[in-house]
């Protein structure tokens, strides 16, 4: 099978599973959503008190186990990290703010589009704009530094975190919160979610599909290899929805599930997500996969996502079907300004360093 076809097929697995999970009970257009699912987990752990979005999403546990298992078998499970962890944490934090203003990560954006939600097109335009801005910084030398080998034990921390989540999901201790109404109360059967999540984890680890990477390569090096994966997600999710969820297919901007149609903030929310994803070197799903295969920098980023979700609800930043709260709008602007300043600062400091090296070597 050719590389592009393989990418399309891997993406297709993910898109189809998104449609199946929605059919089996996941919230509308949320068969898979990495940002929403981490947000639900943050709620279940009591990090925020938005009672309608608290659930330990088994898909996330499955994705981590799937990526961990396949990387272990193929010898790619390796401890590495040490590349600006605090910067990654903050970028993950702001990425989540942007995602919760749009109401979905880039993966849900594609799945929303595949079920007729045209607000996702505005989100897509914002996402590509954010990526385009990020690419300009890459061209000027932006980097968070090279990651290095870490102590062996550190690679097990993220999979163990997933195991602890699984134990909480099974025994349901009283300190873990589960929604009784709203999106957090809706979910496909646990076992099926775990298994399909694991399939998604394997497909993503093998294919390296990254929504940000796909658009980045298309803009930066005119290469469409990863873009075929994104197209596969869309096409198969669309076909899956038309077959499995036809009664819920709704082409248009209004009355879309767990979405608002405030164009400006759909656009800017995803601009922030795109920019942060490029500065981090991957979108939320890619960060989750990398963390599962031993990348401690990606694990720190995921913890940034979780804390970002907690703050988004505690500080009233997250949007809802009613629209985007004032605090959320301010937070998105702060996030974009922060990300731009950070990228500019990184480039300036690396230029200064190279000038110093030049003087030293002269």
């Amino acid at each position: 099978m050719s590389g592009k076809r393989k990418m399309f097929f891997y993406g297709g697995i993910i898109g189809l599973i998104g449609a199946i999970l929605m059919k089996l009970g996941n919230p509308g257009n949320m068969g898979l959503c990495i940002a929403c699912f981490w947000r639900d987990i943050a709620g279940a752990l009591g990090l925020h008190r938005a009672e309608v979005v608290q659930y330990i999403r088994p898909e996330i546990i499955g994705i981590i186990f799937g990526a961990f298992g396949i990387s272990y078998v193929t010898g790619e499970f390796k401890a590495k990290g040490g590349s600006s962890p605090i910067v990654r944490f903050i970028l993950g934090f702001f990425l989540m703010i942007g995602a919760l203003v749009f109401l979905g990560c880039p993966l849900r954006m594609i799945l929303r589009l595949a079920n007729g939600d045209l607000n996702a097109l505005i989100g897509l335009a914002g996402y590509v704009t954010g990526i385009f801005i990020g690419v300009q910084f890459l061209k000027k030398g932006y980097t968070l530094g090279r990651s290095i080998e870490q102590t062996n034990i550190s690679k097990y921390i993220f999979p163990i975190f997933a195991l602890v989540l699984l134990i909480f999901l099974i025994i349901k201790p009283s300190f873990i919160l589960f929604s009784t109404e709203g999106p957090g109360s809706m979910g496909a059967p646990v076992i099926i979610s775990l298994i399909l999540g694991a399939v998604v984890g394997v497909a993503l680890q093998r294919s390296r599909i990254c929504t940000a990477g796909g658009f980045r390569d298309a803009i930066l090096i005119k290469d469409t290899h990863f873009l075929w994966g994104i197209l596969g997600i869309f096409v198969f999710a669309l076909a899956g929805n038309l077959v499995l969820n036809f009664s819920k297919f709704n082409l248009g901007f209004v009355d879309q599930p767990i979405a608002h149609n405030d164009f400006i903030w759909n656009f800017l929310g995803m601009t922030l997500v795109g920019l942060c994803s490029i500065l981090l070197g991957g979108c939320p799903i890619r960060q989750t996969i990398l963390a599962s295969q031993g990348d401690t920098d990606a694990a720190i980023t995921v913890f940034g996502l979780i804390i970002g979700a907690a703050f988004a609800h505690n500080f009233g930043l997250a949007a809802s079907a009613n629209g985007v709260p004032q605090n959320g709008k301010i937070a998105v602007i702060i996030g974009i300004l922060f990300a731009l300043s950070l990228a500019y600062g990184v480039i300036s400091s690396s230029k200064k360093n190279s000038n110093k090296e030049g003087v030293k070597n002269a």
């Binding site: 590389g3 790619e76 061209k139 000027k140 980097t143 390296r208 990254c210 290469d223 290899h225 990398l290």
Partner: protein, 91 residues
Amino acid sequence: MMKEYYCVVTFDITQHALLFEKELKQHNLGVKLMPAPRELSTSCGTAALVMCEDKDKIISICDKNSIPINKFHKLEVTNKDSWFTKRILKK
């Protein structure tokens, strides 16, 4: 059967790949930026496909112009039907 090879250069940061491409094109050497091959990396960073026989010239150009490269890889073509292989053999 004679083994066939292709060569790929990897970088620590994307900007180095862009500088590398620009410099090699100025010297009329074959170069194509691409996602790092799966065999080399679990990340989706940028790499450069080059002609194996140009290795010495490439190293010297990079030294002269202070373009840092991570590694010069020589890989055996294993799956002749893959898109990647076809792309190499077409060159």
